[in-house]
Symmetry: C2
């Protein structure tokens, strides 16, 4: 008789939650599907031609090391280049010993969760927040409380209020997690003023912040805002970076920049997790930096994604029915759509998929519930034509749903609520 | 004031243990050091010339996919090739849905620990056992009890006795973990008879086994023994495989073969851990299989490592003092050395390092203590000349230590024990 494993799984396994996004990624394989659901970069944004000689160079000159195990903390030349690059690009120079290379910044988030979160610990996040981070927190059996945001990012009055009410309960968050620039899922950026206020709050309340920044360099317009990390004189900010959105995700190379104590402990956790990240990819990424392929290329990605954002915004303007609203993010990969109260994003998604167009519903990004009338729309992945066609299909589905919901004759027998 | 983090770490962080091997790997960077300490393949064993056109092909023909995110469970073509390959090579054909690609088999071990082990759960291992597995078990706050082994692997009488005594305590191990072929650290292989007895015990006692097999194809001589997985009709055996020792570790590509329930749950844990393993490496590994580079190449590795093993055995015979003994593994990467009672492997290591030769002491491989008079010697990594020179140096250090320990005049003032 075959075994079943349901009763054998660990406490932590039973606390893991499937990602809706992952299930939706499977839809991408259907060729007729237009998907705004993933968070994938566009393959057109990969510097394939520029990387061909780089990859060949790694095989020709460095294969003995690039195909070998590496030290857990990462390829030292890459760590050093990142440490210096953070000075040149963001004005926050690091030492090599402050950098840990990770298997994408997802692993950085996961390692930080492992070393900082005991079961029952509290994390504060933006509301909504990045789903992959929530999965890491939940896997450690942590609790999450989300702080409201508006078009300028997390509301600092709401954060202060939250911290006060926690103090009354004699509770402290283990850390605050935030994607402050071109956030996933909303595309929103925390304003410069709020960054300063946030850092002052971290000092006043003796708190730690994780600044997750995979999209920061993908700015289409407007003034650059400084990293929160650039305000930090007291080791209160752990920075997460990634080459996935600015070079290519396939090398799975991200990093965290943190005090040495954190790097060492996260390195220890990483050692048990995968010994080291793939050496070959780290060599390719280092050579892309060394041969100055990365930064000129980022300009091309920015131009590409700005065009795609504008195409999606124009199509929404043209095809979405009255009552549906959306924001205009200044960078990144996502537009955040708000449906009128008559529409529910999950119901709508069912109909959308029938019409071969997909997005991600807002709900899973809200750790404390809510968000039923939001959709995250990715514009980076699809072709220009597919963006227009997909938004057109979606507009049609929205209109049909709106008509049905406001037709009491049709709805009454099904017992649905009528607005 | 800078923060300190000591008090902020999680319960699980405080349960992580540093690997002695990792600290020792740092010694490899000293150019004059001859190190038998690591578990590294020899770069000469990497099929660099054969892989150059393969890597170029991936960039030329598959870059848009190979540089993109992949599904968490792995590149489907590679999963399928592994599933079929397990039939062709081991007679245990799998379905694609039974294969999860991991960031080396270390991640496979880590994911299985995460999904199966709650704090306090019990794991049975060989005594000694692989250190990286222990790190995964400890990170999940599991307990480990080790079962004695001899030159034919884990003693089945001792396992049965252990299971009986556990039954009396009303305890059950969550699983048995084993490296049955060319084990790390001892190089020992579980005999065919014991494999059959082990599987019968798994059935009798309703137990699960993790068969970790990174070295199985590196057989120099003697008859191939079947995988324990090949005896399994009841989903009792989870198999871990890796391309690190037979192709190259730098691609960080391993896998687990398990019932779908396990693959799905481990995939969910993997999603929170790193979203997916590096896609580029998976494409390279698939192409190496597809273009039939792997298996002809394994023959070359076997010839290379057999030569190196023989060189090390000859040098030991020539240079090690009387009373030091060692085994002759039929494959893999390690020789297991037993020191006479007068010597302690850790004391000896200090002197060895002063003489620019290093190995790993046995002690950390023994989860319940002991092993002070064992050394694990890796012969795969060093050049032929370095093996001879290193063993010569080590022999000299052993002789000096033996002389000191048997010279009471010298030792008495330091208060050391005299045999």
């Amino acid at each position: 008789m075959k075994k079943t494993f349901e009763t054998m799984f660990s406490l932590s396994a039973n606390n893991m939650r499937a990602s809706e996004i992952r299930e939706l990624l499977k839809l991408l394989t259907k060729p007729e599907m237009i998907s705004f659901a993933g968070g994938l970069p566009n393959p057109e944004a990969f510097p394939i031609e520029a990387m061909k000689p780089v990859v060949a160079h790694v095989m020709n000159e460095h294969a003995r090391d690039a195909l070998q195990y590496g030290v857990t903390e990462g390829h030292n030349k890459l760590r050093d280049a990142i440490a210096k690059g953070m000075g040149q690009v963001y004005g926050v120079p690091q030492s090599l010993s402050n950098i840990l290379i990770t298997t994408g910044s997802q692993q950085a988030m996961n390692l930080l969760s492992l070393i900082l979160l005991s079961p029952g610990d509290l994390v504060l996040t933006e509301n909504p927040t990045y789903l992959g981070a929530l999965q890491s927190f939940y896997a450690c059996q942590a609790r999450v409380e989300a702080v409201p945001m508006d078009e300028h990012g997390m509301r600092m009055d709401a954060l202060e209020e939250k911290l006060n009410s926690l103090r009354q309960r004699q509770e402290r968050p283990k850390f605050i997690y935030m994607v402050p620039t071109f956030q996933n899922p909303t595309g929103v950026t925390l304003s410069r003023e709020r960054r300063e206020r946030l850092y002052a709050l971290l000092q006043e309340r003796d708190l730690l912040l994780i600044e997750d920044d995979p999209y920061g360099l993908l700015r289409f317009e407007g003034e650059t805002v400084p990293l929160i990390k650039s305000l930090d004189q007291e080791d209160r900010v752990i920075y997460l970076g990634s080459f996935s959105k600015i070079l290519a995700p396939g090398f799975r190379t991200g990093w965290l920049a943190a005090p040495e104590e954190i790097v060492n402990r996260a390195g220890l956790a990483k050692q048990a997790q995968d010994l080291c990240s793939n050496t070959f990819g780290q060599y390719c990424v280092f050579e892309a930096l060394y041969h100055n392929i990365l930064f000129p290329h980022v300009k091309e990605i920015v131009a590409l994604y700005k065009r795609k954002r504008d195409i999606m915004l124009d199509a929404m303007q043209k095809y979405f029915p009255k009552g549906v609203t959306w924001n205009k993010p200044a960078g990144g990969m996502f537009i955040w759509v708000t449906l009128p109260p008559a529409l529910n994003a999950l119901d709508l998604l069912g109909k959308a998929i029938e019409n071969n167009v997909a997005y991600v519903t807002g709900e899973p990004f809200f750790p404390n519930g809510g968000g039923q009338n939001h959709c995250r729309m990715n514009y980076s992945y699809s072709s220009d034509e597919a963006i227009v066609e997909g938004i057109k299909r979606l507009g049609r589905v929205m209109e049909e749903q709106l008509r049905e919901k406001t037709n009491p004759q049709k709805l009454a027998p099904e017992g649905m609520e009528i607005f």
